[in-house]
Symmetry: D2
Subunit: 342 residues, 4 copies
């Protein structure tokens, strides 16, 4: 951390700041410029997290130098992490596809979707049993009943199961049925929930908040990891911008940036980001071309009848086309997507 003193600060003020730092066990390094003096702080800066140095007389501002997360940082662990979800490895050579309906509506709908996505080569079935909806008057999910269908779908197809959890209660219930918890965008900074899934051993898919910076996103991962659960996979799902042509803006540019900062795997969700099925194929290609480790795609056997987010769902046919295309790009990048040949 660097402390920048005000242009008109006095030497004794600089000294006082240094005294405080040294009393906290930190080293200091003073550098006097023509206009301003700066103080380099050496040592474990976490002791400064709760000491408002900015308020000391003569101090202009603090400039952090090192990221605030540790366990999630590439500095801490330079080699890429591979997260194992009941035998399926995320972050390795293979491209992972999680697909299924936004909301679980019925056993039939889920099984039909499961078979279709399995056939196209997906490794995971996604499906919402607890749906966080903007309006309290929209369909809120089948809850435990939906999770039972998920477990049954797994038994039939061998697909791994991922579902969103929204509270301690839903964690308790979901723990029995699913392979991976999902933390939704709106809960990315629900620190209580992050700690709760951190206490579990199950892998966690952590979606990026709508206006979260990459640093905040990695700090959210840090919350989970700091409780002992290192099995975190990040999911870029669109950020909020001024643009109104799509629901959100899928931040594909964040994918290589994330890869430069953390060892955790990252996948992309173009369905939620755009809200329109016709953009899902080109953006899926783009995400993989940018280096994503996988995709989360909404697939519904009959999108026109979907109870939630139909407009962004692919039909099984379109999804199959998407998988074929991804497969080809993966091969170019020396990755692979194990598509099933029929």
């Amino acid at each position: 951390m660097i402390i920048v003193m005000k242009p008109n600060s006095k030497e004794e003020q600089t000294k006082e700041v240094c005294n405080v730092l040294e009393s906290l066990g930190l080293g200091v390094h003073i550098s006097k410029g023509k206009q301003v003096t700066i103080i380099g702080v050496i040592g474990d800066k976490t002791v400064l997290n709760d000491v408002p140095i900015e308020l000391m007389p003569g101090v202009e501002k603090l400039v952090p130098i090192i990221e605030s997360y540790k366990l999630a940082s590439k500095t801490f662990k330079p080699e890429s992490s591979v997260v194992d979800v009941d035998g399926v490895k995320i972050g390795g050579k293979e491209i992972i596809v999680m697909a299924g309906p936004c909301a679980i509506e019925s056993k039939e709908q889920l099984f039909e979707a499961a078979e279709a996505v399995k056939k196209a080569g997906a490794q995971f079935l996604r499906g919402g049993a607890y749906k966080p909806r903007t309006s309290p008057y929209s369909f809120q999910g089948l809850e435990e009943e939906g999770l039972k269908y998920m477990a049954e779908a797994k038994a039939r197809t061998g697909l791994k199961i991922v579902t969103e959890v929204i509270s301690h209660k839903s964690i308790e219930v979901a723990e029995k049925y699913v392979d991976m918890f999902q933390i939704g965008a709106r809960n990315m900074q629900n620190f209580y929930l992050l700690r709760e899934v951190g206490k579990s051993k199950k892998p966690v898919l952590l979606k990026r908040g709508l206006s979260a910076t990459i640093e905040e996103w990695l700090n959210a991962a840090e919350y989970i990891m700091s409780e002992g659960n290192y099995n975190v996979v990040l999911c870029e799902r669109g950020i909020r911008t001024f643009e109104t042509a799509t629901r959100n803006t899928l931040d594909i540019s964040a994918i290589p940036v994330i890869k430069s900062k953390t060892h955790l795997p990252v996948i992309a969700d173009p369905s939620h980001a755009t809200g329109k099925w016709e953009f899902v194929l080109p953006l899926s290609r783009a995400a993989i071309a940018a280096g994503a480790d996988g995709l989360m795609i909404e697939v519904h056997p009959n999108p026109r009848c979907a109870l939630s987010d139909g407009p962004q769902s692919l039909t099984p046919e379109k999804f199959n086309e998407l998988c074929n295309s991804i497969n080809q790009i993966a091969a170019l990048l020396d990755r692979e997507y194990k598509i099933h040949k029929h």
Copy 2:
């Protein structure tokens, strides 16, 4: 709601859409323009919440006409609501000030702050016992012990007590000690938490999410109200923009907009929004001048020693000056702030 058909859509496609709408009990009104046909939908549109009309052949887009919230809407209840918190009325003629430290650190710190803010005329003591912090390594709050200090501070000063809750557990504990629950910006769309405070009878201070639109914010209020708790007060606390000179951008412009859309009271929190104490006074004045019903201000007996957010805290002296200034502006607007004369 209006359904816009594609420029090249066919007449039978328009008919099919109308058939679906009518089968749901809705009225339709077709209007053929030179380039496009539009369908006006008449009746209770909530039946459409989960039917993806956008996906029907020939449909270009849906244009909502009426806001998605009801209980929070001014159309539903045109006259302003006054929320009574243990005798203090928010949303009436009087300007309400909630003040105190960001985090409760010790009994002494809290009592000192309480007496100072009481003396300057505040009606509420704020103080965080459960602190949602970006990094898991920052101070997370004194929890129940902090709430006990709050209750004691109330007993000594008569100030009403408001504190943030972050989980069902913290609601259970806080229910015994405080007069008003606060939902923080990061939890504005934690719908589970919103429902939980909605089941309580205690008034709720609902902060705006960092990138929440006004419509989403009012839908969050709707979640609380739909459970039967109508005692909701909104709090504008800064939105995320591209600007880096301040932590966030206090959206003062939202205050009159909110007043035009909802009957609920709204206050402003310039301390968190800017992150710098020197901007708190001018922005407090501005918020009141724009029509806010009150303010939430961070005050710390000794900001330089604060364990959390010191740089945005006012000293008791500065806070007293702020209260005097607000008092004068309130008088101009035919409102009043009952400042204590000494």
Copy 3:
């Protein structure tokens, strides 16, 4: 400026960077932390503007410490500047109000508006002769004819005249008729135009770009000042955010921030920011309460017939009410707005 080296950089890389800096005549100050080494750079950093130090091996990033503008900076000139526009002083004790129609439509419309705003106490008549419109099919302004009406309106009322210029040609023409040039938001980084008005001696009203940071805005002022024209007044007119309830978000929070960084006067334009007349009064009050030196307000004798931006225009009656209200707030802040008593 500080140069942060990568965690795994080598000592010789740090040395090489220092060699380059020293060869450019700069001093260096090395500070070795536990994880990273940083280099403080001492001397005139403008020599580094075009040398990509970031690319040298081992360099992580550059952290600027001092703002990039000089003439506009409060460090350079701590006392507030007062800009004299043909005898009217902006930035002094008096609150300045510029008012009039968005576009000049006819002699009658302009004269009627001029008399109304004069009567309410405005010191400036604003009116667009060259209108930058989003669509090429919208009304683009009366050009020189409109400017002639402006000059005539000045002769009749004594109001000072401010109008937007959009090209070297319009500068040449407007120079003959107006007292102050306005640079519109969309041209804030039209550096060619900034230099052109910088070569003139006429005062310049510089609107903030829709997504300009405060630093970029002050650098735009610097462009004008670097040509010798120090008579720059800033105008906050709303920034682009994700919110769709208003056209833009008036960044009232920027007003005290600007005041802390520059000596230049700053006014606010709530009419363009919100696009809705009903929010103009509360936001005008808020801007003055936050410390703005004045306002720019759209007034049209008959807003319903306006050829441009009618919905955001006040009637003369509403404008009169606004001036009265501003007058009262100005008095509280120990400023004054010389309203005419009738």
Copy 4:
């Protein structure tokens, strides 16, 4: 266009609005819902551009249904346009790459870059002679001298030449030397400049403004086209978001959206968007995978010595690698990039 009346508006107010519309030659279609009445407007709505219907009593808001641009719209011209630049076709099957230094610094630098990009297969040489820089103290370009080097580089390599113009003067000068004008992001809404290049016959590369919506971008294209110059190519170059890890956020998601709205070709510029060379390769791949017609890439023979934007420049070797990779993805998408085999 749809006009939404207020919930409590009166029938005679609806009638009055209809009278005004009909007096302007427009058809109306009234649709009465349970809560609100809406009026569908039929006919050429451009007559409404300058009539503030929003201000009529009882009117709540106007909802545009059809985009405001025409010539640029896919509704107007459904088949994709191919822009011919001195024989090179943009928007056809071939992927186009424009490459070269950000700023032209010397004859040697430019020629070296030109030969390198030619060898890797680029069809265009880019290079800035007029540089719009945020600070007036940064290098501003070699102006006409630079353009002469460009023309000479074309003579030596056969590469087409594209350069940014910033004023009527630079257009006049550049017209003699270059094949294509570039309008920079900061001038996207410099409508005067747009009209000036519209009067020319030379193709125009129109960069997206930092916070421009897609609709505004296409309206900027409309300005050029409305003057008779239909040879417009769009260039996505990053938008401004809250994220600070990269300079801007390359909006790859906009590429398929643009393709759904306009027939004009679109390319991407990952160099300026990210500001960091290490992200240029993955994002170039992503842009092509998303459907872009080409790329603009900064290449400098010696990035470490670049006078402008060195950190985002590729070395010729890295650029060659990029071209190879793009070539492979282009083939997958049934497009081609004519890389030169050596």
